[in-house]
């Protein structure tokens, strides 16, 4: 919808190729308008309705459902968990993916072997890996059996402590220790993807660039820091955005691994939304959760857009 005026404005300046370019986008745009914006509109409409039983009730409820959520212990906990999950998850996936990518990119023997090992977790369904990690990080039977030798027995996802916590609304705001266990599982599953992205990126960087830097007397470390990693920026941006959408929508893994957790220490909005909508028939509340999540995303996407605009001009 928005693009129409700007397109018309610049009609004159368009060459035939540019028109072809725009024409190529049109099918995608139409599909997205229907499947994304049409349905978001529907969700937004439901979120301000009274549809909180099985019987559809589209009467206008104002912001009632939103107000309810922001006063809800569970939703507040969900927001907190999402913030910390996202930070740790994205950070670790990037560090691990880049680190392993650079190592694998060293023309070592067995390169494809290692690559496939790191990719393999992605091939498994979340529902199964969730359960396996639930077992592995079970405080009494999992990897703690090895850790016991060193005298450490973390409580993993059963830990209800909040680090550096302070009262905030109905909850304690801080780093929920339990979320770290979930982060480990998610990083295990997704590192393969960021590794593949970085490998593709590394392989797109012409050797001559590195050669040139080497000629200039740069150390290998400097080559990576000054040449390679900056060139991988667009890849990093992709990884961040893709991991962000995974972390905001993460559902299967948590549902299978920990559920909501004691005191909702590992609960996330997607789980809440699913349970509210399909277990409790709180359709309007569920829709409101979806809309809030989208608004949160918008807050992060807009600066990105702003930046890439600046880059263009």
């Amino acid at each position: 919808m928005e693009e129409a005026p700007s397109k018309r404005k610049h009609k004159k300046g368009f060459t035939k190729d540019q028109w072809t370019a725009v024409a190529f986008l049109i099918p995608s745009i139409i599909l997205i308008l229907v499947f994304v914006y049409g349905f978001i509109g529907w969700t937004g409409y439901v979120s301000v309705s009274n549809w909180n039983t099985l019987t559809p009730d589209f009467s206008f409820a104002g912001l009632k459902n939103y107000i309810y959520l922001f006063q809800d212990f569970r939703f507040q906990a969900d927001l907190r968990n999402t913030v910390f999950f996202t930070i740790f998850f994205i950070g670790l996936v990037i560090v691990m993916g880049l680190g392993l990518g650079i190592l694998i990119d060293q023309k070592l023997k067995g390169e494809s072997f290692f690559r496939n090992i790191f990719l393999f977790p992605m091939a498994l369904s979340f529902i199964v890996t969730g359960v396996v990690w639930q077992w592995l990080l079970n405080p009494s039977t999992g990897i703690n059996q090895f850790f016991q030798f060193f005298g450490i027995t973390p409580k993993w996802y059963t830990d209800t402590n909040i680090l550096a916590g302070f009262e905030w609304g109905k909850i304690e705001f801080g780093v929920p220790v339990a979320i770290i266990a979930v982060v480990i599982a998610a990083v295990w599953q997704m590192t393969g993807f960021s590794l593949a992205m970085y490998l593709a990126g590394l392989r797109g960087i012409p050797n001559e660039l590195r050669e040139a830097a080497r000629m200039d007397g740069a150390s290998e470390f400097q080559i990576y820091r000054k040449v390679v990693i900056p060139m991988l920026m667009p890849i990093t941006v992709s990884v961040i955005i893709i991991m962000a959408h995974i972390s905001l929508k993460i559902f299967d893994l948590i549902y299978a691994m920990t559920g909501s957790g004691a005191n909702f220490v590992t609960d996330v909005p997607a789980v809440y939304m699913y349970e509210a909508t399909f277990k409790g028939n709180y359709y309007a509340n569920g829709a409101a959760i979806a809309i809030i999540m989208l608004l949160v995303v918008a807050v992060f996407i807009i600066p990105y857009l702003w930046n890439s605009r600046k880059g263009d001009n």
Binding site: N116, T277, D312
Partner: protein, 273 residues
């Protein structure tokens, strides 16, 4: 000195260490899948089975086989279509920018964040309206659409690395919009295609929510069958794990086949030229 000049041995040690960490859960999955159910318990999760029992695999295979081809018919067209559309979008949005193209890009990108649980009801109604409910084609459509934001983003950012001069040069040589795409962009982004294909293939293969709601019974893909291995109250984890391994094999096969396109130098050569 710097970590990158460390010896080959060191690099191998790090890689092997991480490979070990990554395989630990895989070990548990495989060991569990080979046990009879009464040996499957938290207390014995690390233990090897007392005797190797392939009956879980037999059961899983029998249950998954009928839905297997559905997944194949779903995942191949959906992956190819979304990769192709994503490549074209990425090409336009990175190399043929026009006023408003960034806005368009954001509009597409935003679609990635839509929580699928909340749009199931209108989505099903729409799919029903266009007559694709309970068909693989309907499921292909849904996956292509919701895959577009990711594939567009990935290609746009892969293409951002390709120097504009190459395209300018080709244009001067008289290459058209499509000519540049076919002769320069696609060959240069083989690894990109591979990554996108890995991503889409894995996601669509493993996706459950759309699969279970858009299709019923005979048209359901393998992931639904995998879920159906569990019961309403009792879950036989050995069969579940065996099923997971069986269901993951095609994905793994794709990784291995596509893996050769990761070979270093494939790209560098063409960029030079």
């Amino acid at each position: 000195m710097a970590p990158f000049s460390m010896g080959k041995t060191m690099k191998y040690i790090i890689l092997v260490f991480f490979a070990f960490l990554f395989l630990m859960p895989v070990y548990v999955i495989i060991v569990t899948s080979l046990k009879p159910l009464d040996e499957v318990s938290l207390e014995h999760m690390w233990a090897l089975p007392t005797s190797i029992d392939f009956s879980s695999y037999a059961r899983a295979f029998e249950e998954l086989a009928p839905n297997f081809m559905n997944s194949v018919y779903l995942v191949i067209p959906a992956t190819l279509l979304s990769a192709l559309l994503g490549a074209m979008n990425g090409y336009v949005l990175s190399k043929w920018k026009f006023k408003g193209s960034e806005t368009l890009f954001t509009i597409i990108l935003f679609g990635m964040f839509i929580p699928y649980q909340s749009i199931l009801i209108p989505m099903i109604q729409f799919i029903r309206t266009i007559g694709l409910y309970d068909t693989i084609a309907g499921l292909v459509l849904v996956h292509v659409v919701y895959g577009l934001p990711v594939t567009t983003l990935m290609f746009r950012n892969f293409y951002a690395n390709i120097p504009d001069q190459m395209i300018e040069a080709a244009k001067i040589d008289g290459a058209s919009f499509l000519g540049v795409f076919r002769h320069i962009m696609i060959p240069l982004s083989i690894t990109g295609f591979v990554v996108v294909a890995i991503w889409q293939f894995t996601n669509i293969w493993n996706e459950f929510l759309f699969a279970v709601t858009v299709t019923t019974n005979e048209t359901q893909p393998v992931m639904v069958a995998l879920q159906n291995l569990s019961g309403s109250q009792i879950v036989q984890w050995n069969v579940q794990m065996a099923g997971a391994v069986v269901a993951a094999l095609p994905t793994l096969l794709v990784y291995i086949i596509l893996g050769k396109y990761f070979v270093r130098g494939l790209l560098a050569g063409s960029v030079k030229g």
